[in-house]
Amino acid sequence: MEMPTPDPQVLAKKSMVVDRLSDVLPENAVIFEEAETRAYECDALTAYSCPPMVAVLPSTTQEVSDVLRICHELGVPVVPRGAGTSLAGGALPTADCVILGVARMNDVLEVDYENRFIKVQSGRTNLSVSGAVEEGDFFYAPDPSSQLACAIAGNIAMNSGGAHCLKYGVTTNNLLGVTIVMMDGEVIEIGGAYLDAAQYDLLGVICGSEGQLGVVTEATLRILRKPEGARPVLMGYDNNEVAGEVVSDIIKAGVLPVAIEFMDRPCIRATEAFAGAGYPDCEALLIVEVEGSDAEIDEQLGKILKIAGKHNPVELRESKSAEESAKIWLGRKSAFGAMGQINDYMCLDGTIPVNQLPYVLRRIGEMSSEYGLDVGNVFHAGDGNMHPLILFDANKPGDLELCEAFGADILRLCVEMGGCLTGEHGVGIEKRELMVNQFEPGDMDIQMAVKDVFDPAWLLNPAKVFPLEASANRRAA
């Protein structure tokens, strides 16, 4: 993956940049020694790394504003960083950039159960937002797999989803307001503890803009009362297409589960070997979870099991207790770890229309043979968001490139079937060059024009999202 050549004029200013930033930040908040900047050289897309010129860890919105004002004045690119859990390289530095990490900004600013919102600093982790309202029996709905570590700042930048968004939506559906700092240091409030925009929905544009429009320092998030209970059911089928039909039939029957998860045979076998959750050895496994009181859960599961039973399942396992529920989820939750146990892997994130599931799975299987790389599929079937895991050997020359080519083919297939390149991870650097498969030049140009408005000098996270060639003139200007 190509990154732009560092600007020698910026590199030459390093000591000036460090001095100016040290004027406005505490001593321990400016990191510039090479041994220490290495800590920020990559995010969770570990195949790519590059230590930044400087990293800063501000503690307040004012400090963020000071940092951005100085970098703006000096023409230094800034790469915002939440917790660094991006799988797409969203927080990958360039050698001439300042990494702006919000990890120290993790306070809860306000909890309001009556109006059902929480206001936090953006460096707070996703799970600890729910943790802050647990005593009131509330929770924050978006639940990306990385929720223990990932920051709200990154969730907003990538518009993160999770397993439960079929019912609760993704980040943008649960975000009420932000405090955002523009590249020139101006602090802006957008939205708040009320619904909908007065004029243009700028909040909706900022969410998912991958840190390219501004740096979010505070967020007002919708919180929800916890359901009375939740219970999963596990179903095994000997055929992917049948499992796809079951998903479609459940949805058509008017049941709205909070989650419908899908695993294929390679994934089932890997997780069984790793976690021993007792999954059946079959072609396709579904975990469907519903919420409510015991009686409500019984009612919904009754309908779901009736549909499931019509399609000749290999296994139907209803949870009878909290332990059994945990066991049903165990394999799914350890799927990524299990695959990592076998080999290095690349996790994809394309979305397809739900009814294309069987065809796409078959094609992925065929491509897997053509490329000679194994692939396991685990994904959110209710919303068509797939996570094929391609296994490769990082120590074998050429294997990463082969794996990337295979991944690109899968994503192109997703687009061809009416879907998209990324459902919840973001474009970052990983899918930057594939954007041309989903968008016409004009579609990308109008998006870049939005960045022109927010960040005319293209200093914020500049080498991401758009193909380097498409953004070249704007970045050079």
Binding site: N115, N159, L166, V170, D201, G204, E296, V354, G418, V453
Partner: protein
């Protein structure tokens, strides 16, 4: 002008010499008056695809909402955000279009629980101010590929582009519902009751209050929907939650419940009543104080929706009901041209936001021909 294809629309915009008044069927004339040639999307009509099993529908922007709702109903599904019909309130005629709903980001009472029009909008196609055919989003439920201009287009009222196609996530229509009502509450008591209901785990999908309800008397309503047994169970539990606020009446008849919420959705209490109409969006617990202030300013009638978060205000003509420095926003939905100009239809934006909005307009519509001045 009534283009029949996106290509035709693109040619018309490219050739346009002056301002265009972009409309669907014109049933929601909210905003400042636009002088220009009328460009209507009504002939860009028809459902493109509807996949009930994938919960998605794609339609051309001029498709009548009636056609879409009928197609969804045939599969037992619906647009969950319950879009309001403005005709009664604004005294307009015509068949409201799906594009008009998107352009104004129109939602109804269920918005408080499930989200707004913009939350269910998956993708758009549109033609910008220099005639470029553009798209954003798509027809799948999870999509973070590139910037989310879908949200930007929702509510931009034809000032950034002319919508040609929209795609939505839809949801099943639950078979059973109930409305729990308490009579005679003051505004403050009502907001407290609605707050308890919305903060319960019982999936309340509507919470509204009026001091002159459908029968002319104060009524506070909460709604639950779902499968029959579940609704029966939650009626009981929600009655417990509401018991301390007053005696609870329950309605479960489908038509009756629908009529009650249509009354709220379309603000029927203000139909045929003289006066300006404002719509406020505030923090719900601020609503009682806001309501008292509005009454002190001469408000003739109030309707609280979204648990108090949305306040519909019937006000004396020409009277400025918008408080200074409010936390939230107030939109002047119905008033004379003169009043709209004088008081501004939309909540004035803070300067930095105004700059961004203008910047976006300059990029999407550099010639300034799409509904110029409509948003102020």
């Amino acid at each position: 002008m009534t283009p029949e294809t996106e290509v035709e629309l693109s040619e018309m915009i490219t050739a346009a010499k002056g301002p265009l008044r972009v409309v669907g069927s014109g049933t929601r004339p909210v905003g400042h008056v636009v002088t220009g040639e009328t460009l209507s999307t009504t002939r860009l009509s028809g459902i493109v695809t509807y996949e009930a099993g994938a919960l998605t529908i794609v339609a051309r922007s001029g498709t009548p909402i009636e056609e879409i709702e009928a197609a969804l109903a045939a599969e037992g599904q619906r647009l969950p955000f319950e879009p309001m019909d403005h005709r009664g309130l604004l005294g307009t005629e015509g068949a409201p279009t799906i594009g008009g709903i998107v352009a104004a980001n129109v939602s109804g009472p269920r918005r408080i629980a499930v989200g707004a029009c913009r939350d269910f909008l998956l993708g758009v196609r549109f033609v910008d101010g220099i005639g470029r055919s553009l798209k954003n989003g798509g027809r799948v439920m999870k999509n973070v590929t590139g910037y989310d201009l879908v949200k930007l287009m929702a509510g931009s009222r034809g000032t950034l582009g002319v919508l040609t196609e929209v795609s939505f996530k839809v949801l099943p229509e639950p078979p059973a519902q109930a409305v729990l009502m308490i009579d005679g509450l003051s505004d403050a008591e009502a907001v407290a009751a609605m707050t308890s209901a919305l903060g319960s785990p019982f999936d309340v999908t509507g919470a509204a209050h009026s001091s002159s309800g459908i029968d002319g008397k104060p009524v506070t309503m909460t709604r639950i929907e779902g499968f029959a047994d579940s609704v029966t169970y939650r009626i009981e539990r929600l009655q417990d939650v509401l018991a301390s606020h007053g005696e609870v009446r329950v309605a479960t008849d489908k038509e009756h419940c629908a009529a009650l919420w249509k009354w709220v959705r379309d603000v029927e209490g203000f139909h045929n009543e003289a006066g300006d109409v404002w719509c406020f969006s505030v923090k719900p617990t601020m609503a009682p104080q806001m309501g008292a202030d509005l009454r002190a300013k001469g408000a003739l009638n109030l309707l609280y929706d979204w648990g108090g978060g949305r306040i519909w205000v019937l006000a004396p003509q020409g009277q400025n009901m918008r408080p200074d420095g409010m936390n939230g926003h107030a939109t002047l939905i119905r008033a004379s041209e003169d009043t709209r100009r004088k008081l501004s239809v939309f909540q004035p934006e803070a300067l930095p936001l105004k700059k961004i909005s203008q910047g976006l307009r300059d990029k999407f519509d550099p010639k300034g021909i799409l509904n110029p001045g409509l948003m102020g």
